[in-house]
């Protein structure tokens, strides 16, 4: 790849990593969220504690974990615990500042489907299901979503609510704040505090409003202070390509 050029996925990972500035305890997902969190630890948030649902607190992965339960997450970590303790004492008890989720479908209120496309009993596509996502969505203090954007993923109505976002505009008392950011290959989004609705905050360099609208199935709200996402720096790209994903498994 030429100097200065980068993929949409690299932009997505860099934008996600920057959102972790100032955060302390992060529940990490596999794939792009995993690279984003490890990038944040090397850039904007060196004290970030990485928590994996497989039962690890304070992971310091020496290689890019191949899955959410990679042995490299255990070696050198602060605690390897049972999954009951991880979900009950860490997540449900409110120790997690940020949880990362992926999504096959999302609606304007950040409600997420990772279960089925089509009817539940006779699905057109059977997706993986919740895993820990349903409890992360409810119990993490806030939620960041990383996902590809298209009219099939940014939909008016999701086929199945696996993980609740802002429901129809507000969340029950006692829950975490819910989705506070969505990062796609086209831009970054935040949520209106009053209405719980997704708002376009930045467009990635070279992405037009037409492209954003063509890949969103509802009438999208645009922030008054809409800006361009700063492009990845050379150092961010170097860390991704040389240290975090040298095979390009998740970023090319």
């Amino acid at each position: 790849m030429d100097d200065g050029a980068y993929t949409a996925t690299e932009m997505m990972i860099v934008a996600s990593a920057r959102l972790l500035e100032g955060e302390r305890v992060c529940f990490v997902g596999v794939g792009p969220p995993n690279i984003a969190c490890n990038l944040a630890k090397r850039t904007v948030s060196p004290d970030l504690e990485l928590v994996y649902e497989s039962g690890v607190f304070g992971a310091v992965p020496a290689r890019l974990p191949l899955s959410i339960g990679d042995p490299t997450l255990v070696t050198g970590s602060l605690q390897a615990t049972s999954m009951f303790e991880l979900f009950a004492y860490y997540l449900q008890a409110g120790l997690i500042d940020v949880g990362f989720l992926g999504a096959s479908q999302i609606d304007r209120f950040g409600n997420i489907n990772t279960t089925v496309i089509g009817d539940y009993a006779h699905p057109k596509v059977r997706l993986p299901g919740s895993g820990g996502a349903c409890e992360i969505a409810i119990n993490a203090r806030k939620v960041f979503v990383i996902m590809p954007q298209s009219k099939r993923s940014f939909v008016e109505r999701i086929d199945f609510t696996t993980s609740p976002g802002h429901l129809s505009g507000e969340r029950p008392i006692g829950w975490g704040a819910g989705p506070s950011a969505v990062v796609t290959g086209l831009g970054t989004y935040r949520f209106d505090d009053a209405t719980g609705e997704m708002v376009l905050a930045t467009t990635h360099p070279g992405v037009s409003m037409i492209e954003i609208r063509d890949n969103t199935a509802w009438d999208l709200r645009i922030a008054d202070d809409l800006a361009e996402t700063p492009p990845p720096s050379q150092e961010e790209l170097r860390l991704i390509r040389e240290e975090l994903d040298p095979q390009g498994a998740h970023t090319r």
Partner: protein, 307 residues
Amino acid sequence: MADGGKVASMRDAVADLVRDGDTVAIEGFTHLICFAAGHEIIRQRKRDLTLCRMTPDVIYDQMVGAGVARKLVFSWLGNPGVGSLHAIRRRVERAEPGPLEIEEYSHFGMVCRYVAGAGRLPFFPLRSYEGSDLPRANPRIVRLPSPFGGGTVYAVPPLNPDVAIVHCQRADANGNAQIWGLLGCQKEAAFAAERVIVVCEELVASEVVRRDPNRTAIPGIVVDAVVVEPRACHPSYAQGYYDRDNRFYLDWDAVARDADSLDSWLDEWVYGLSSHAEYVEKLGEDRWASLAPGEAWSDSVNYGRYA
């Protein structure tokens, strides 16, 4: 029981303890998934099993593809880090070659089911599921008012498998099993189950267990058989013993996309072999050498002597 009493071959343990129609849990979250036990169940052509696992993983794709299961209980259905489990998807999406009943939870819901099962409770409460469609898809996830105030919770029912199969790094001949690395929910699954098979990388003297009792995940009192089967978790891994074989997980995607290629794989790697020892040999030493981790030892601790 005297040393040696519970040690059995995988063939005998599966033949004696896994019965047609059983509810079976081969647990292990990414780590310590006992593929060798799954292969033996396939080889013995067990039928109508209800297979429980948080993450069905490639092992249940193989077992479902081989026709041992009528139902799947799970919380995340995928090939971790790779994509889909195609044999299971064929049955769920297109009922090919027949339908597969499913019962679905979230991860914490599945863990809580094992906890309730292990403690012989009628249910376990958790704060997940509000606002999710999962309780509508699965009526066994039930909304309850807390009897002590503090809002509502969701109850999940106990999961008490007929058989739990858990792999560990080391065990003694009575089944006192020690695990390090990711602990998953194996302890809960073993305490919840009616019958338990412990499979170990190494059989050790009871003194080894007694010198480090904090590391014992499962006590022999709940264990029915101890199978000594090194490298039984391939392509999953055993912390400190061998790494996950990611190439296998990637290759499985193509194998399982097509029912015929899956059958050929089963013929070559399961039906065509008589034991896991043959599988280990067939895989070849080069492959095993590529999976060997470096060393990272812990310090030992002083438990004290109080005679």
